[in-house]
């Protein structure tokens, strides 16, 4: 076995040996030969980095699971406790976990982070509990706003991108529900809020690219909801608005790729409204759109210099047309539809057009998993066996269940083959699949809060064990060096 050295020791030895070689104390090539007796620190680092990642993932999932346990504890109303006790327990969980996390920050950063996550979850649980305590219910978006605002300082403090992302996502969820999907006067609140969001992205989030794009998506959605879907003359405003947006991107925003995509998206949607939805509404076949499609691909490929944004939009347009065609022919067999898309994603994962390889592979890879998840539920399969049965519950035998299990096993084998080739996505697929079945089975036999908490503790201890092993191994290395 090769001898192991720390990175600095390895570097030191290497420079010294090559120095000896250059002064003639060693023969030419001998330094390389000698260095070959040692384990390159690069391979060591690689393996320990993978371990660190798996620890992070485990603590993360563990934190989330315990958090879910707390959430579902709220949901299941522990009837023996008084309201005030429950309120206090949750508040205490928040405070205690934050403080524990704070004190562990230096000693055990991963555990500390997991504790912060649990605290943030307890906070969310408390928000929902207040809703329950006073029978407020209803406005789920307000709860998300409170959650998002409440964890934002923590995200800034930890400089944790995941928490930042979640916090901002919650606030945007609130804005989406409250203003963009609202009816009546509140819609005009968006006119005020969208500029504030742009200012927030620019000044506080240091002009973060993703936030900018999300803000533009909101702005576009606003235009869409209030202009595109209107029946009267306003519905034709896009003829003016869309060229203005293209000009804006060209002259002011330095031809941002994402904005370009959004602009084309609006343009295509306009086409869609006029040539697809309108005919479908009158039960006519959308032949104009179908004829336009190859033309659009042709324009993008030949005339627009193989434009990638255009290809992306064309791709989604084509995808949408497939959905409309299912609708037009009143094809309602969910099993076949799901299998159709699943096959499509798998094909895209492995076969791409050379000019658009990256995008096609991306879409295929990231879509086959959610589709497979849908296909792992027996309810997706029953239509394949009994066309006339209206509800899954009325199915006469367990064919659908068997089909879903066979599918899941085959898909898991595929995911495991990904894991074997060290594909992180494969690991994610396997974990979520295992979790999905764990939830399904454990919920049938156990109280769900206990199930979640046990799962979470299991994962956390696994993370702790990994961390300990890693440290022990590093300690051994240090001793070897001495």
């Amino acid at each position: 076995m090769k001898r192991r050295l720390s990175q600095s020791g390895y570097e030191f030895l290497k420079t010294e040996l090559s120095h000896l070689e250059s002064t003639g104390n060693l023969k030419e090539g001998q330094s390389k030969e000698l260095m070959g007796l040692y384990d390159s620190p690069r391979s060591q680092i690689k393996s320990s980095r993978i371990k660190m990642n798996s620890v992070q993932i485990l603590t993360l999932i563990g934190g989330i699971l315990i958090g879910l346990g707390i959430l579902s504890f709220v949901a299941s109303n522990w009837s023996e406790l008084t309201k005030l006790t429950k309120f206090s327990i949750l508040l205490a969980t928040l405070v205690v976990f934050y403080l524990m996390a704070f004190s562990l920050e230096k000693k055990n950063p991963y555990l500390s982070k997991a504790f912060y996550y649990i605290g943030a979850f307890a906070y969310g649980a408390e928000i929902f509990y207040i809703g329950q305590m006073f029978h407020l219910g209803g406005n789920i978006e307000d709860a998300f706003l409170m959650w998002g605002i409440g964890i934002f300082p923590l995200a800034m403090y930890l400089k944790d991108n995941l928490l930042k992302g979640v916090s901002i996502l919650f606030v945007y969820t609130f804005i989406e529900f409250k203003f963009l999907l609202a009816e009546g006067a509140l819609v005009y609140g968006a006119i005020l809020i969208i500029p504030i969001l742009f200012a927030f992205g620019y000044y506080i989030m240091k002009n973060n690219h993703y936030i900018l794009v999300v803000n533009f998506i909101l702005l576009y959605q606003f235009i869409e909801m209030n202009v595109m879907f209107t029946e009267n003359w306003i519905g034709y405003l896009p003829i003016v608005v869309i060229p203005v947006l293209f000009a804006l991107n060209h002259f002011v925003m330095n031809n941002t790729k994402e904005l370009m995509i959004l602009n084309f998206f609006l343009l295509y949607q306009f086409i869609e409204m006029k040539f697809v939805l309108k005919p479908l509404e009158q039960e006519q076949f959308p032949y104009v759109a179908l004829l336009l499609l190859p033309l659009l691909f042709y324009i993008g490929h030949k005339l627009m210099n193989k434009s990638k944004p255009l290809f992306i939009i064309n791709f989604f347009f084509a995808l949408q047309l497939t959905a409309y065609l299912f609708y037009y022919f009143k094809f309602e067999n969910l099993t076949i539809i799901a299998l159709f898309y699943f096959t499509l994603w798998m094909v895209l994962t492995y076969f791409q057009h050379p000019d658009y390889r990256k995008f096609m592979k991306f879409v295929g890879t990231f879509m086959h998993f959610p589709t497979a998840l849908i296909l792992s539920f027996p309810i997706t399969w029953y239509m394949l066996f009994y066309e006339d049965v209206q509800f899954y519950e009325n199915a006469p035998d367990s064919n659908a269940l068997i089909a879903s299990i066979v599918f899941s096993i085959l898909y898991l084998i595929y995911a495991l083959s990904l894991v074997k080739s060290e594909n992180l996505y494969g690991i994610a697929i396997v974990s979520i699949f295992v979790l999905r079945f764990y939830v399904d089975l454990s919920l049938a036999f156990m109280d769900k809060s206990i199930a979640f908490i046990i799962g979470g503790i299991l994962l956390l201890s696994l993370g702790y064990w990994f961390e300990k092993t890693r440290r022990r191994e590093m300690g051994k290395n240090e001793e070897l060096i001495k």
Binding site: L71, V74, A75, S76, N77, S79, L91, L94, V95, Y98, L99, F102, Y123, E126, I127, F128, I130, G131, Q132, M133, F134, H135, L136, G137, G138, I140, A143, M146, I149, G150, I151, P153, L154, M156, Y157, E183, G184, A185, I204
Partner: protein, 180 residues
């Protein structure tokens, strides 16, 4: 944010959630302690909610209001909307209640767009149209949370038509207290 020291930012991270949580309880608590008690006839059923556990969805008799007790100026707006000439947005309304001395339950005595100067009233959202001579008003109390798996008992009780909700009302804001 840079001017803040790390410890201060941690303290903010900890106190902001607590302040937000406590502030959420203020309005309901004020209503419970200073509000007036109102009893309303209900029509419930029993779905489930991922975040909140078991609950009973509540519909109140007071949410279907005969058009003849709607206050005049509001009625005009509704008539215009129904004939299709004005906006279709939902309306904010005040449902004025009075206790029925025989049943003990509160009945709607009028609905108006302006805040009443006195009496017991609940803020609600009204549909912009009149439908079959009735106005549908949604009172922002929808759910009554229960201990898990007790929803069926209440459901059975409601099928006998005897469920009454006790509500605290303060300044138009309402908090559900119990369902019997």
């Amino acid at each position: 944010m840079k001017s803040l020291s790390n410890n201060k930012l941690f303290i903010i991270s900890l106190t902001l959630p607590i302040i937000l949580l406590l502030s959420m309880t203020v309005k309901p608590l004020i209503t419970i302690y200073f509000g007036e008690t109102v009893k309303l006839q209900t029509v419930p059923f029993d779905p489930r909610d991922l975040f909140y556990g078991d609950y009973v969805d509540l519909d109140f008799e007071a949410e279907n209001i005969p058009i003849n007790i709607v206050e005049n100026s509001l009625r005009k707006t509704l008539d215009n909307n129904t004939s299709g000439s004005y906006s279709r947005d939902d309306l904010k309304v005040y449902v004025v209640l009075e206790q029925n001395n025989i049943t003990g339950v509160h009945d709607v005595i009028s609905v108006s767009a302006k805040k009443p100067k006195s009496g017991t009233y609940i803020k609600g959202i009204s549909s912009p149209y009149i439908h079959e001579n009735k106005l549908t008003v949604s009172i922002p109390i929808e759910k009554y949370y229960l201990a898990e798996n007790t929803g069926t008992q209440l459901e059975e009780a409601s099928s006998k038509g005897q469920l009454i909700a006790t509500i605290k009302v303060y300044n138009g804001y309402s908090i559900l207290r119990s369902v019997e």
